[in-house]
């Protein structure tokens, strides 16, 4: 039984110099067989395992991770959470996640530092204004909070933005979702891992999947670096490496994997208390609790698994940041990194069964998966446990690329990629 984290446990452990904290999760060797195996120990994978155990009573399951948990895109994103997507299907999906976020720290007994500081999307030209106003209306029809701000209101909400009409791409207004915000990304992975582990889920790190064993049209297990593990159900949540797993069973996915970069500055005192994103000039910025500016850049425009990204992409982003926030002109950047994102042609994810029995994919989150972590895990767990999708992810099946019923969310991807 896991000890509950509380103010009392903090006091109690302080007396023993914090040397007696319980391990947050075990480090088990894989069993011979599980009822289900989740490939990928990032936020989405761990959340899937957590909800499989919690809501569907499937506790004899394992998460296999080739590196360490949360070491992939979960620890590499810019931690932004919002649900202001255009289409009904997306609104349902992302707002489902946002509602879970609002109670997640309590649900996990783990502080994920969810902060509803608002996300503002800027408009820089007439088409931006039209698109963003349309999206605001669509959001409100779907019960998602969204307001349109004119230039003065943008300036009032975030005073450091340069709203002069003389800049190259002047700010003509923006939308604001106040329920949106940020969370501590590592804590999300750790919280779900701890919660899943407490219910009996085996989290197996440093265990890379090398192959998937099939028997006719159904799966039999996975070949890993720690040996063969038998199972009837496999949930693949491998983000940028989804196609690598799919190629093991000759399944083609509509994905392209590209490096997406982010960077942080040296820490400074509080200067920006919200998240500001701009599609047209391709820049977004927020400030972490440590004081670093967290800046997201774009993807490299070619397939690559290199987890770094090109210098010219960062340069372009910083140019835009400086034009919008001249106050940052003497900031120094501390760290830069890349993660591999799997991008779908319609910029919407796939949470779906496949034509192979017992093989499920949760992928294609592209450049914006972090915000959906709890909802994605919940819906994917439902799909795996019942062998059919929840109504909220029914539209996000693989077959939409055959039927043509795409969920085009390029406009709501916040910055174009």
């Amino acid at each position: 039984m896991k000890n509950k984290y509380s103010i009392f446990s903090i006091i109690k452990n302080a007396f023993s110099y914090n040397e007696n904290w319980q391990r947050a999760w075990r480090d088990p060797e894989p069993k011979k067989e599980y009822d289900a195996i989740i490939i990928g120990g990032g936020g989405h994978g761990l959340a899937t395992a957590f909800y499989l155990a919690k809501k569907h009573n499937m506790t004899n399951i394992a998460v296999v991770e080739k590196g360490w948990i949360g070491g992939g895109n979960t620890g590499r994103n810019t931690t932004i959470i919002r649900s202001n997507y255009l289409w009904d299907a997306s609104a349902g999906l992302y707002d489902h996640a946002l509602k879970i976020w609002e109670g997640l720290s309590q649900e996990l007994n783990y502080n994920v530092m969810f902060s509803q500081r608002g996300v503002m999307n800027l408009a820089h030209n007439l088409q931006d204004v039209r698109d963003l106003k349309r999206r605001t209306h669509a959001n409100r029809l779907n019960g998602i909070d969204a307001v349109w701000l004119n230039t003065e209101e943008v300036k009032k909400f975030c005073p450091i933005i340069n709203t002069s009409p003389d800049i190259r791409y002047p700010v003509l207004g923006g939308t604001l979702q106040r329920r949106a915000g940020t969370a501590r990304h590592d804590a999300v992975a750790w919280g779900y891992a701890r919660g899943a582990d407490a219910m009996g889920v085996d989290i197996i790190q440093n265990c890379e999947v090398k192959g998937i064993k099939r028997n006719g049209d159904s799966v039999e297990g996975v070949e890993t670096t720690k040996g063969f593990i038998k199972t009837k159900k496999i949930g693949v949540v491998a983000a940028g490496h989804s196609s690598v797993i799919a190629n093991m069973v000759d399944l083609k996915l509509p994905l392209e994997s590209k490096p997406l970069q982010a960077l942080v500055s040296e820490p400074v005192k509080p200067i920006i208390d919200t998240v500001v994103m701009s599609n047209a000039v391709h820049a977004y910025v927020s400030q972490s609790d440590k004081g670093e500016l967290v800046i997201g850049a774009g993807t490299d425009a070619y397939v690559s698994y290199t987890q770094r990204g090109s210098h010219d992409v960062v340069e372009g982003t910083l140019k835009a940041i400086l034009e919008l926030y001249p106050i940052f002109s003497r900031m120094k950047m501390l760290r830069q990194w890349g993660g591999i994102v799997d991008i779908c042609p319609d910029a919407s994810p796939i949470i779906s069964k496949t034509h192979i029995k017992g093989l499920y994919f949760n992928c294609g989150w592209g450049t914006g998966g972090f915000k959906a972590t709890p909802g994605s895990g919940d819906l994917f767990a439902h799909t795996i446990a019942n062998d059919e999708p929840h109504k909220l992810n029914a539209d996000f099946n693989i077959n939409r690329f055959v039927s043509g019923d795409l969920v085009d969310e390029h406009g709501a991807a916040a910055v174009a990629h």
């Binding site: 490496h241 690598v244 083609k252 996915l253 994905l255 994997s257 425009a301 290199t306 799997d342």
Partner: protein, 91 residues
Amino acid sequence: MFLINCPYCGERDQSEFSAGGEAHIVRPKQPTELSDDQWAEFLFMRKNIKGVQFERWNHAHGCRKWFNMVRDTSNDKIYAVYKMGEKPPTK
């Protein structure tokens, strides 16, 4: 970020080029005969290989010509560059 040896202009910075995705996906000869599955295969489904991949590139900020390239996507190492219509190198 890397250098690309354009078959027409020589070695240039990658930022001058735009990637055109997987190469040698043949355009259907009789589009009207295609089933939905075949259309999906042609339009959307990709191998997205981690490793050596054949792909199309365009020298967008140079000669604006298309060509093919063999690149290892796990380390961005380029093995060969060849013109459109030429046979892909076997190794």
